[in-house]
C-alpha cells in the first residue's frame, strides 16, 4: 500500500508522462528514496538508520529518459564569423538539453569522429549501437551567409532507419551572439516539446530577481540559464519581490517610496513604471492570479498586515484575511486560480496556509518550524516552500527548499547542501525550481530540477535574491 501511495505521488508530479511498470528493483529504489521521509511515522525503526538519505523524487524514476546524442553543429561554409557563433550555439544548445530533465545526453567521448552536418551524412549504425547507443540524434549546421546567420537542425530517431526524421528546422537572423543563443534555445525547446511529453520547453523563459549590484536593491531580469542579465528598475531605494504577470507584460514589485512600502508596476513593453494606486500602510509581496486579472499582496493599510486582493488595475481592493498575525507572501494556484497559499505568523513562527480565493477554508499546511515563501507548481498540485523544520534554541536548523503535495500534505526535502535557501519559484514546465541560496558564501540565485538534481548557480555578481520565473 505504501508503495502505491509513493508511486502515485511520483505519478502526480510527472502527470504528463506515463510511468513504465514498476519492477521489483525499481520498487526497492523508490522505497529507499521516497518512502522513508514521506512515511517516517510508519517506519520509525528504519528511519533512524536512513534518515540522512537524500530524497530523490527524480524525473527519471518510473520512466526511462531518451538517450540523445548531440554532436556539435558544423560550419556550412568558411565564413570567419562562424567559429564564435558556433561555439555560442553549441554551448547553449547542449546546456539547454542537459538541464531539461527529459533526456539523457550521450557523453561526447562515445561519438564517432565524423559527425553529420546534414541528413545525407548520417550513418545510422554508428549512432544506434554501442558505444553511443543513442535513440535520438540532434545534429545540424550553421553559417553566416548573405549577412545573416542561418542554422539548420534535425532530430532523427536513429533506431527507426526507415523513417528517421522527427523534426527539421531552419532559423535565420542577424549574425550576433544573441541570435545564435536564441536559435539554440528555440531548437532545444522544439526537441524538449517532442521528447518531454508534449510540455513546451523553457529555454526562452526569463527569471526576474533582486540584485544589489548597482548599490541599491533593484529588480533585474535574465534568461533562464543566467545569461543576458540586465537591470530593469532604478528606484534608488529598496525594491523587492518581483512578480511577472502571466502574459509577461507587467512586473509587480514592492518598493520603499517616500510614503512607505508600495506596490509598483513596471511595464516590460514600455520599459518604465506605469501608474498603480498608492494604498497606504506597508504593502508587500504581490502575486498574480493565473488569468492576470487580479493581484494578491500583503498590506497593513487596515492596521495589521493581512492578505488583500485587488484588480490588476488596483481597483476593487478587499481583505482576504483578518490579519491577526503578519500575513504575507500570497501565491495564487497557478493552474486553477481558485486557491491562494500564504504565510501567517498568527500562531507564532510563520507557517504556510492555503485558503480559497475568497478567503474561506483556511488550511494550515506546515506542522512545525519556520515555513515561508510558498510557490505553486504549474499543474496546481504541489507547493514548493522554504522551511526550517527544526527551529529554536539549540536547533540551528537550516532553511531548505521543500516540495509538498497539496492534497496529502506529504513533503520531500529538495536541498541539503547548507546555506540559507529561500524563495523557490517553479519553471513554466514544472520540471525546474529556481531559488536563492547562501551556500556559496553570499546570496545568489541557483536552479535545479524539481527533484533536487542538476543544481547549478546562475548569478555571481553582487547579492541576488527573490527569483521569480516567468509563466512561459
Amino acid at each position: 500500500m505504501s508503495f502505491a501511495v509513493c508511486f502515485n505521488f511520483l505519478k502526480r508530479m510527472y502527470v504528463n508522462r506515463k510511468p513504465t511498470p514498476v519492477s521489483a528493483a525499481l520498487a526497492l529504489h523508490l522505497a529507499s528514496v521516497c518512502l522513508l521521509p514521506l512515511f517516517s511515522t510508519l517506519f520509525l525503526s528504519t528511519v533512524s538508520a536512513l534518515a540522512q538519505d537524500w530524497v530523490r523524487t527524480g524525473s527519471g524514476l518510473g520512466v526511462e529518459r531518451v538517450r540523445l546524442a548531440v554532436p556539435d553543429f558544423k560550419p556550412a561554409n568558411a565564413d570567419p564569423l562562424n567559429t564564435a557563433l558556433l561555439k555560442t550555439f553549441n554551448d547553449t544548445f547542449w546546456n539547454d538539453l542537459d538541464n531539461s530533465g527529459v533526456v539523457d545526453l550521450v557523453s561526447k567521448s562515445f561519438y564517432p569522429l565524423q559527425a553529420p552536418g546534414n541528413p545525407t551524412e548520417v550513418t545510422f549504425g554508428v549512432w544506434n549501437s554501442p558505444p553511443p547507443n543513442a535513440a535520438m540524434l540532434a545534429f545540424g549546421n550553421l553559417a553566416v551567409t548573405g549577412g545573416k546567420v542561418v542554422a539548420q537542425g534535425w532530430l532523427y530517431d536513429v533506431k527507426n532507419t526507415a523513417s528517421p526524421s522527427v523534426l527539421g528546422k531552419q532559423y535565420a537572423d542577424l549574425p550576433t551572439e544573441d541570435s545564435a543563443r536564441i536559435m539554440a534555445h528555440k531548437f532545444a525547446d522544439e526537441i524538449i516539446l517532442r521528447l518531454g511529453g508534449g510540455i513546451p520547453g523553457i529555454a526562452e523563459s526569463k527569471i526576474f530577481f533582486v540584485s544589489d549590484r548597482s548599490g541599491h536593491k533593484e529588480i533585474w531580469m535574465m534568461d533562464y540559464d543566467g545569461s543576458n542579465q540586465r537591470q530593469l528598475t532604478h528606484q534608488g531605494s529598496i525594491s523587492l519581490s518581483p512578480r511577472i504577470s502571466p502574459d509577461g507584460a507587467r512586473l509587480a514589485f514592492s518598493s520603499l517610496t517616500k510614503s512607505g512600502w508600495d506596490i509598483l508596476m513596471y511595464s516590460t513593453e514600455l520599459n518604465r513604471l506605469v501608474s498603480f494606486p498608492h494604498f497606504g500602510g506597508t504593502n508587500l509581496s504581490p502575486s498574480w492570479s493565473p488569468d492576470g486579472a487580479r493581484l494578491a499582496f500583503s498590506s497593513s493599510r487596515g492596521g495589521h498586515s493581512a492578505i488583500f486582493v485587488c484588480d490588476s488595475s488596483g481597483g476593487n481592493l478587499h481583505p482576504m484575511t483578518t490579519g491577526r498575525g503578519p500575513d504575507v507572501s500570497p501565491a495564487w494556484n497557478r493552474k486553477t486560480g481558485a486557491q491562494i497559499a500564504f504565510v501567517s505568523g498568527s500562531i507564532g513562527l510563520p507557517q504556510v496556509y492555503t485558503m480559497e480565493a475568497d478567503g474561506t477554508n483556511q488550511q494550515r499546511m506546515t506542522d512545525q518550524g519556520y515555513a515561508v515563501s510558498p510557490n505553486w507548481s504549474p499543474n496546481g498540485q504541489f507547493l514548493t516552500l522554504a522551511w526550517i523544520r527544526k527551529y529554536g534554541p539549540g536547533e540551528p536548523g537550516s532553511s531548505d527548499i521543500y516540495l509538498m503535495d497539496i492534497a496529502s500534505k506529504q513533503w520531500v526535502q529538495l536541498t541539503h547542501d547548507g546555506g540559507r535557501n529561500d524563495f523557490p519559484s517553479w519553471s513554466p514546465d514544472g520540471r525546474h525550481i529556481v531559488f536563492q541560496s547562501s551556500r556559496s558564501g553570499k546570496e545568489e540565485i541557483w536552479e535545479m530540477l524539481a527533484d533536487g538534481t542538476k543544481l547549478h548557480q546562475l548569478t555571481f555578481t553582487g547579492r541576488n535574491s527573490q527569483p521569480n520565473w516567468s509563466w512561459k
Binding site: S241, W261, L284, S285, S305, V328, S329, V343, A386, D422
Partner: protein
C-alpha cells in the same frame, strides 16, 4: 688734463690760509670775555618734590573680571586718578573696567606735580562663552531622552522589561507635543525577507499603539518597516540579533 690739475692745487692753497686766520680771531675774543663776568649767587634749596607710583595686578583680565589698582605717593597734598577721582595718598581699589584702561595718577604737592600711569588690558571672553549658552534643540533632547524598544525573537508585542522605556518615551513626548516622529520596525537577519518586513511593520505598530495608549497623539507618529534591510549590527550572534530586533524612534524634521 694736465692743465686742470694745476688749477686745483692753486685753489687748495688759498683755502688753507683763510682757515688759519679765522681760528686765531676766535681764540682772542674768548680770552677777553672770561675776565669781565662776576660769579652768580647760590640758589635757595627747593621744596621736596612729590613722588608717585601706581600699579595694577593682574595687568590683564578678561571682561567681567576685576583687578586691584595700588598706588603710593609722598610729599603730595592732592592725589587723584583719572576716571576714579580724588584718592588717598596711598591705597588700593578694585576696578572692573569693560575695556582696556590706562590709569593716570596725578600727585600735586608744594614741591610740584608728579604723574604715574599704569595700564590694565581687558581681553574679550572666549567665543563660546560670549553669547549665553543656547538651550538644546528639540531634536537633541529627543535623541538624548527617547529610548528604542526591543523585541523578542519573532514577536511584536511589547516585552514587560520594555514597558519602562515606553512610559519614559511617552512622558517625554507628552512634554514636547510639537515633536513628530517615526517608529522604524527592524528585525534580525534570520528568517525570510518578506515575512520580516511584515513582522517589522507589526513591531512599529506595537510601539505606536503603546505610545498612543500612554497619551501620545497618533497623528504625530508615522511607522515604517525595514524588516532586515537596514540592520544596526551585522554579526550572527544573539547580542547582535537583539540589537536588530527593535522599534527605533526617529525625530521627524
Amino acid at each position: 688734463m694736465g692743465n686742470r690739475k694745476k688749477i686745483n692745487m692753486k685753489q687748495h692753497t688759498l683755502q688753507s690760509v683763510a682757515t688759519a686766520f679765522a681760528l686765531g680771531s676766535i681764540l682772542m675774543i674768548g680770552a677777553c670775555h672770561k675776565k669781565a663776568a662776576p660769579p652768580p649767587p647760590p640758589p635757595p634749596p627747593p621744596p621736596p618734590a612729590p613722588t608717585a607710583s601706581i600699579s595694577v595686578s593682574p595687568d590683564t583680565i578678561q571682561q567681567g573680571q576685576s583687578a586691584t589698582l595700588s598706588w603710593q605717593t609722598s610729599n603730595a597734598t592732592d592725589v587723584s586718578i583719572d576716571g576714579v577721582g580724588a584718592v588717598q595718598p596711598s591705597g588700593s581699589q578694585q576696578v572692573t573696567p569693560n575695556d582696556s584702561t590706562t590709569y593716570h595718577l596725578t600727585a600735586k604737592g608744594t614741591g610740584g606735580t608728579q604723574d604715574a600711569t599704569t595700564r590694565l588690558t581687558v581681553t574679550p571672553p572666549p567665543a563660546a562663552a560670549a553669547p549665553p549658552p543656547p538651550s538644546p534643540s528639540e531634536e537633541d533632547l529627543f535623541g538624548q531622552s527617547v529610548k528604542d524598544i526591543y523585541f523578542e525573537y519573532d514577536k511584536s508585542d511589547i516585552r514587560s522589561d520594555q514597558q519602562a522605556a515606553i512610559q519614559a518615551d511617552a512622558q517625554f513626548l507628552n512634554q514636547h507635543t510639537e515633536i513628530n516622529f517615526t517608529v522604524e520596525g527592524h528585525c534580525d537577519s534570520r528568517g525570510s525577507t518578506e515575512y520580516n518586513l511584515a513582522l517589522g511593520d507589526q513591531r512599529a505598530s506595537s510601539v505606536k499603539s503603546a505610545l498612543v495608549a500612554a497619551g501620545v497623539s497618533s497623528n504625530r507618529v508615522k511607522t515604517i518597516s525595514y524588516g532586515k534591510e537596514k540592520p544596526f549590527c551585522m554579526e550572527e550572534t544573539e547580542s547582535c540579533w537583539q540589537q536588530n530586533r527593535r522599534g527605533h524612534l526617529v525625530y521627524q524634521k
